[in-house]
Symmetry: C2
Subunit: 212 residues, 2 copies
DNA sequence: GTCCGGCGAGACGTATCGTCTTGTCGGCCT
DNA sequence: AGGCCGACAAGACGATACGTCTCGCCGGAC
């Protein structure tokens, strides 16, 4: 029943990834079709249906692969994140002792990733699929988002140990304060996503908007 | 060419709204089909194609109608918001002079709306459609979200006048600090969406997470 | 009473779905 | 070296939904 993965064709897999990413970029996610991917990749439909259960799965793997390539090309150890709610690559978040500067640097990097046209179409497609599809959302969040998001929590806990963040603050909620507005603005295109916005978020979240 | 709206059948329109909302709730947005809506509503397909350009448009109008009904039933003047990134009904945000209490009250109400199963399926569908469809997102945000979101800005400006928020703070970004994490947690089902979470967001955003 | 246009119904050709069948080809085991 | 096994490319298949269209029907305006 289960196909023999040791006999799997690496060439077909590559071609499918490339075709899926290209089509999503060119005609959009809804009009990207399994038949279309197969035709473009020069592959039989069955080869796709044999290894994946939906076009969302195909695209997700293609995107993970793309991120891995990019991470490898960029130097350090691969991570597998990229381009959605984070931007803290596998490197972790720097800890120079200056929490505000560290957070600004990472959020600025995230902004740049979110604005990278290379990732835009597939990342949006995955996000859209996740909104209406809980099972897929779970996999998507766990695989692509959580690893990087967890790094923020780690950095915030270090800041708590250093006395730069109040001890009773929940680091998960604190992290949402930085990351969610970015993700939201990106998803809903509700305004420009630039370094200034990232900086303000960090400032307001760290020191509050009330008089000090 | 353009159909004569004075001859439009109110009964068909109602039936279409009801069928669309029911189907989205029962089989999900992707499997909700124009043919299905027409059949369920006891209506010819052409009647739908004559007045709407896509199933997203149908659902959006149905949702607006549903919100209007609910708002009317609830008492005051209709508004047309409900159930997404806000929760500040047409009433505006209360101004008791206690900014923190006012914000918590409104965010708690928003949480309750977001958790209302009546709205969940269609609201998610609209959000998902908007992510991958810029033109629709624009209409969606402008019609359903902005009116309520603007009320936060108004309330925050009042707080600035009262000296409870620093004058140099951008009220739009400040508002994102409260609203985006809520919306994000709802969209990605990344954790429980309850009153406690809402309260923490308000506290952290107002006073910051750094030592005071 | 007649006319106009929206209405319900559903036929039509096209496209994609997911499954299934056919024949080819390359790697592995003997 | 020869034979076997299973993934592969190609595409046929019935099912479904698309969006357009053509029918009568019917109700309000004139």
């Amino acid at each position: 029943m289960a196909p023999d993965s040791t006999r799997r064709s690496a060439k077909s897999r590559r071609a499918i990834y490339d075709a899926a990413l290209a089509l999503v970029g060119e005609v959009g996610y809804p009009k990207t079709t399994i038949e279309g991917i197969a035709a473009r990749a020069g592959v039989g439909k069955q080869t796709i249906y044999r290894w994946w259960s939906s076009k969302a799965e195909v695209l997700m793997e293609a995107f993970v692969d793309l991120s891995a390539q990019a991470a490898e090309a960029a130097g350090g150890a691969a991570d597998g994140d990229a381009a959605h709610g984070d931007g803290a690559g596998g490197d972790g978040i720097p800890d120079t002792g200056d929490l505000e500067a560290d957070l600004k640097a990472v959020l600025r990097a995230t902004v740049d990733e979110l604005n990278d046209p290379r990732y835009e179409a597939p990342a949006r497609a995955l996000a859209a699929e996740g909104v209406g599809n809980p099972a897929f959302a779970e996999e998507f969040v766990a695989t692509l988002l959580m690893p990087s998001l967890e790094l923020y929590v780690k950095r915030l806990r270090a800041a708590q140990d250093a006395g730069q963040v109040r001890a009773e603050v929940d680091p998960y909620i604190a992290r949402d304060l930085f990351v969610s507005p970015l993700a939201q603005r990106w998803l809903q295109r509700t305004g420009p996503l630039d370094h200034t916005y990232a900086d303000r978020l960090v400032e307001y979240a760290l020191h509050g908007i009330a008089p000090r």
